[in-house]
């Protein structure tokens, strides 16, 4: 008894002290590593680099839009355009409800903020007074209520900017411009040139019932602001890349998997060679495949699909060969005993055993490749990934960026649900079918 205790005592103490060292040193190493990262990534400098203005634009743009009301001070030309874009311009003679057209157009920004256009521009700010400006060749010529200028007004000889909660007025010698911010995504269904713009849901349903459904759909589909048709195509392209890449890879990898499996290929050299091919295909990452393939095939969904196919052939080949090595020989022997030829032995002895494994792996990859296809699309120029990078590149269409992000999330989660459903369905069918 005592002898056993002494024998056990030494190792136990040693083990405890080792565990003690590990449990203190691992957190310490992690902390040291993070300190190193903190220094080498210059995280302390983030505060200086962060662009607060960009952040503000991004957040504001994601849930609101601005309408530009512009007057050319030399010609007197007057226009109203959403986001200041040509495709969002109101036709001449039309304007949103808060703009009263006429010789001297009046813009009502709400809460009593009234701006009157014309040769003299005036802005009536409640609680402060009226600013009057006569922009001309010699400057803006603005007059302000007596007293010191509040800090939301900046004024110089050639430029006056008034930035209130209701909107923003900029007057220069050549231009007078008002921005009004409104919640929502502008012109999401119909652009201003569509006859259906501004109609309520019930009116639209009525019109659709009266045979205009195709025209309504056409106007939404070809919406120039949001390009719903192009977006749908891009999503389809992304899904197509994932689908072709995943299943193409599975088809290529299945025969190669037999070559790399110990129990099907007795020749060591062939096994070795096919395994190195898999390692190579996987090691040359999707990024490199994308670059190489886009040189030959140009940008587009095919290049993306082939890049996914190349990488995943490596992954699938490895997994399939491992699954094949775990195949139970008894089933194959049973099939052989009935006089089956080699091909029949594979078909009825091997394939039924590995299909559940293959299907679940392939479907798992299908979901993850939907995400990869978005990323590869951004590099190779196809699908929703490309539209996203383009929208981010303009640095102003953040509502579109938000829209695309939402669509991508829905697409990937939908694919996840779908592949899970298919996996359960197919594998269950496999079990009670054979």
């Amino acid at each position: 008894m005592t002898a056993t205790a002494t024998v056990l005592h030494g190792p136990t103490v040693a083990l405890f002290s080792r565990k003690k060292i590990i449990s203190f040193s691992v957190p310490l190493i992690i902390i040291i590593y993070f300190v190193y990262i903190f220094v080498s990534f210059d995280i302390a400098g983030i505060g200086d680099r962060i662009n607060v203005n960009n952040a503000r634009t991004l957040v504001a743009d994601a849930y609101s839009f601005k309408t530009h009301v512009t007057q050319d001070n030399r010609t007197g030309e007057f226009s109203v355009a959403i986001e200041g874009e040509r495709k969002g311009e109101y036709l001449s003679g039309t304007a949103p409800g808060w703009v009263t057209l006429g010789d001297r157009p009046v813009v009502d920004l709400g809460k009593g903020h009234i701006i009157t256009f014309g040769p003299n521009v005036s802005y009536d700010i409640p609680g402060y007074g009226t600013i009057v400006a006569t922009p001309g060749k010699r400057g803006v010529n603005a007059t302000f209520p007596p007293g010191e200028l509040p800090n939301y007004i900046s004024a110089s000889k050639n430029r006056v900017t008034v930035n209130t909660d209701a909107g923003r007025l900029t007057i220069t010698r050549n231009r007078t411009e008002v921005f009004k911010y409104t919640y929502g995504w502008e012109l999401f269904f119909f652009t201003l040139d569509s006859p259906y713009h501004g109609l309520g849901v019930w009116q639209l349903v009525n019109r659709a019932a009266n045979g205009e459904a195709a025209a309504i759909f056409h106007d939404v589909w070809t919406n120039r602001m949001w390009r719903h048709g192009d977006v749908a195509w891009a999503m389809y392209e992304t899904l197509l890349m994932a689908f072709l890449g995943t299943f193409g890879a599975a088809l290529v990898a299945l025969p190669l998997g037999f070559l790399a499996a110990k129990n099907f290929t007795p020749l060591r050299s062939i096994r070795f060679a096919s395994r190195r091919v898999f390692d190579f295909l996987r090691g040359v990452d999707g990024l490199i495949w994308t670059i190489v393939l886009s040189r030959a095939f140009g940008p587009g969904p095919l290049t993306g699909a082939l890049a996914i196919l190349m990488t995943d052939t490596g992954s699938f080949g490895k997994m399939f060969s491992e699954a094949l090595e775990n195949v139970d020989d008894k089933q194959v022997e049973g099939v052989t005993s009935t006089g089956a030829k080699p091909l029949q032995r594979y078909r009825f002895g091997v394939i039924p055993q590995i299909t559940p494994v293959l299907i679940s792996q392939v479907l798992y990859y299908l979901e993850s490749n939907t995400r990869s296809a978005t990323i590869i699309g951004a590099i190779t120029g196809g699908g929703i990934g490309l539209m996203l990078t383009q929208a981010i590149g303009t640095q102003k269409d953040w509502e579109e960026v938000t829209y695309y992000i939402v669509l991508i999330i829905i697409m990937v989660m939908g694919m996840d649900t779908f592949s899970g459903w298919l996996r359960r369905k197919l594998i269950k069918g496999e079990d009670d079918g054979r």
Binding site: F41, I50, L244, R282, L287, P301, A305, S372, A378, I409
Partner: protein, 294 residues
């Protein structure tokens, strides 16, 4: 006589219906196969049409670019070691992005995985909402977060690190919680009976049981994150991917530097894959930890 024919008929009936069933099933499988092949071929054709260059036109040129790169690399092979030294810091940055984001993601994922595991969760009504958050984090491709953050923070490794870490939280949170479900609750109950807090119960009761599985999943994630980090570099987030894009854009005659980067990236990915799969193998099957019976 009458008896035997009576028996034969049901057997015959069973055989017929079995064959009919088998035929129907085979037909169904055939139809599914045909549909699948049609989808694959037509999908391929659509992709081919929407691609800038066609598949059959491009196929003969597929080796041109690799041949250029390899040719130039061989012609100026004496320069390659120098380039490798030159681009080593970028490679280190890429690996650091992957490592830091895996660590951050694993730590946060660990905490969240305990929060969403039934039986261990401190606040049961939080399980569903946190799971949905993890689903969303997993669904967002890294590039989306990275590009938005690049706009806000400028280029560099930090946007990539945050983007990959967020995705890692989603992925590992889910995997870890599946691991947690297999943990025995006895140590947790034991600790609870002596008045341990939730944190202590998790730290001392659950984590030691499943740490090897955590580590194995985290290593697998590290392999994936190295690739992600290289790709994000390519869209402007620093590291070796960024250098790769620059060197490729220099065009023909200057591909030797690109070749060096290709080689560095390839070797790194293969090395990390091999080392990590070796460790994972040891964690899952081999080497039972030295046991002392008390």
């Amino acid at each position: 006589m009458v008896e035997s024919s009576k028996i034969v008929r049901p057997v015959q009936g069973i055989k017929d219906s079995y064959l009919a069933q088998a035929r129907a099933k085979r037909l169904m499988n055939l139809i599914l196969l045909v549909v699948f092949i049609v989808m694959l071929v037509s999908g391929f054709n659509t992709a081919d049409q929407r691609n800038a260059g066609g598949f059959w036109a491009g196929l003969p040129n597929i080796l041109d670019f690799p041949a250029d790169v390899i040719g130039e690399a061989i012609a100026r092979r004496h320069l390659l070691p120098g380039y490798m030294v030159k681009y080593f810091p970028s490679l280190l940055e890429t690996v650091n992005i992957a490592a830091a984001s895996t660590l951050l993601g694993a730590m946060l994922g660990l905490v969240l995985s305990l929060v969403i595991t039934r039986g261990l969760a401190p606040v049961p009504w939080l399980i569903i909402p946190v799971r949905r958050v993890l689903d969303i984090l997993r669904a967002i491709p890294e590039i989306v977060v990275a590009l938005v953050l690049i706009f806000l923070l400028g280029g560099g490794p930090v946007p990539a690190m945050i983007a990959i870490a967020l995705h890692t939280v989603g992925a590992l949170g889910k995997l870890f919680s599946e691991v947690n479900e297999n943990a025995s609750l006895k140590p947790v109950e034991g600790l609870e009976s002596v008045g341990a807090s939730w944190g202590q119960r998790m730290w001392l009761g659950v984590i030691p049981q499943v740490a090897p599985n955590y580590l194995s999943y985290a290593l697998l994630r590290f392999e994936i994150n190295i690739r992600a980090s290289a790709i994000l570099g390519f869209v402007g987030a620093g590291g070796i991917g960024y250098d790769l894009r620059n060197t490729i854009s220099w065009g023909q005659g200057k591909f030797d530097e690109a070749a060096a980067i290709f080689l560095l990236l390839f070797l790194t990915i293969v090395a990390v894959d091999q080392i990590s799969s070796m460790f994972r193998h040891r964690l899952t099957n081999g080497q039972p930890s030295a046991k002392v019976m008390l």
